[in-house]
């Protein structure tokens, strides 16, 4: 057996992931801060005024990154849940549980900023449009996942139930993504797509992408902080937790 394989699986145990996560957190916070400051600078001082929406369009710089992250975190969460279900690894369920609140907050930011953008541009805070409704369902899926896990005392059983909910809910992510194509919606089409060049000014696009990176690094940092707490909560009665220097002091 090669060394690489062994080293890789080493970090799948909570015991070795706990200190590794602790070492990674400051780096992700630093990256989040650098991208965040650069992104905000571009959002407010570099990106030009929009010809149609004036300064109101600047909401895009948090609306799009939070929407992307809400969907992406859900996919990552479901992937961890599936891994836990298939391989019965302890860390997987903890990762899924750590990601859910961050994903829920991203979905909330997406809906909130969407409402604050919709009001001046469409004249309404909310419409039952396909994109908005499917994003709201995503928010409820996160809440449902958190509530279901909280309702089951045995964490291993909670992981299994949550994993099934998360996997069934995955079908909603492509529905959100393609909703603007499949239905005739009030929400505009994708500003950025892989197939064609983006339909927006270069500086606006860069601002949005850098803000998306900031949101991404933030999500990793905060999820790692949460997973460390979850590891300690679930491994309370193990020897390695009792031997930790932060417990012994």
């Amino acid at each position: 057996m090669s060394n690489r394989l062994i080293n890789w699986f080493k970090f799948a145990s909570p015991q070795s992931f706990y200190p590794l996560a602790g070492r990674m957190i400051p780096w992700f916070w630093a990256l989040a801060a650098v991208f965040g400051i650069a992104g905000l600078w571009i959002s407010f001082f570099v990106a030009p005024t929009d010809a149609v929406q004036g300064e109101g369009y600047r909401i895009i710089f948090i609306h799009v990154p939070s929407s992307w992250m809400s969907m992406f975190i859900y996919l990552v969460m479901a992937a961890w849940a599936a891994l836990g279900l298939a391989l019965n690894t302890r860390l997987s369920g903890m990762m899924a549980q750590a990601l859910a609140p961050t994903g829920a907050l991203m979905a909330f930011i997406s809906l909130w900023t969407g409402a604050f953008w919709g009001k001046p541009m469409w004249g309404t805070w909310w419409v039952w449009d396909a994109r908005l409704t499917s994003e709201l369902i995503l928010f409820f899926l996160y809440i449902g996942f958190i509530a279901l896990q909280a309702a089951i005392d045995d964490p291993r059983r909670a992981d299994k139930a949550g994993a099934i909910l998360a996997l069934v809910g995955v079908v909603n992510v492509p529905i959100i993504y393609f909703s603007v194509k499949w239905w005739n919606t009030l929400h505009q089409g994708a500003s950025v797509s892989i197939a064609k060049s983006p339909s927006m000014a270069q500086t606006m696009l860069w601002g949005m992408l850098i803000m998306a990176l900031a949101f991404w690094m933030y999500s990793i940092a905060v999820a790692l902080m949460r997973v460390r707490a979850i590891i300690l909560e679930r491994e309370t009665h193990t020897e390695w937790v009792k031997e930790l220097s932060e417990v012994k002091q």
């Binding site: 109101g56 930011i109 909130w112 001046p120 905060v222 949460r226 707490a229 300690l232 309370t236």
Partner: protein, 62 residues
Amino acid sequence: MSWNSPAEFFAMGGYGLYVWGSFIVCGAIMVMEPMLAKKRQKDILRALRRERIADEIEKGTL
């Protein structure tokens, strides 16, 4: 740069309520969430330390 004065910046071309209403709520969430995660870590560590002390008292090693 599209701003000539701080007042103009805060007015956001008449969209101030909507732009700041979005950014401030987003920022508040991103300050609050890590604080809650940090508190969760602090709480479990405190419980673990307390448990360790209880164990040592029981064993008579403290």
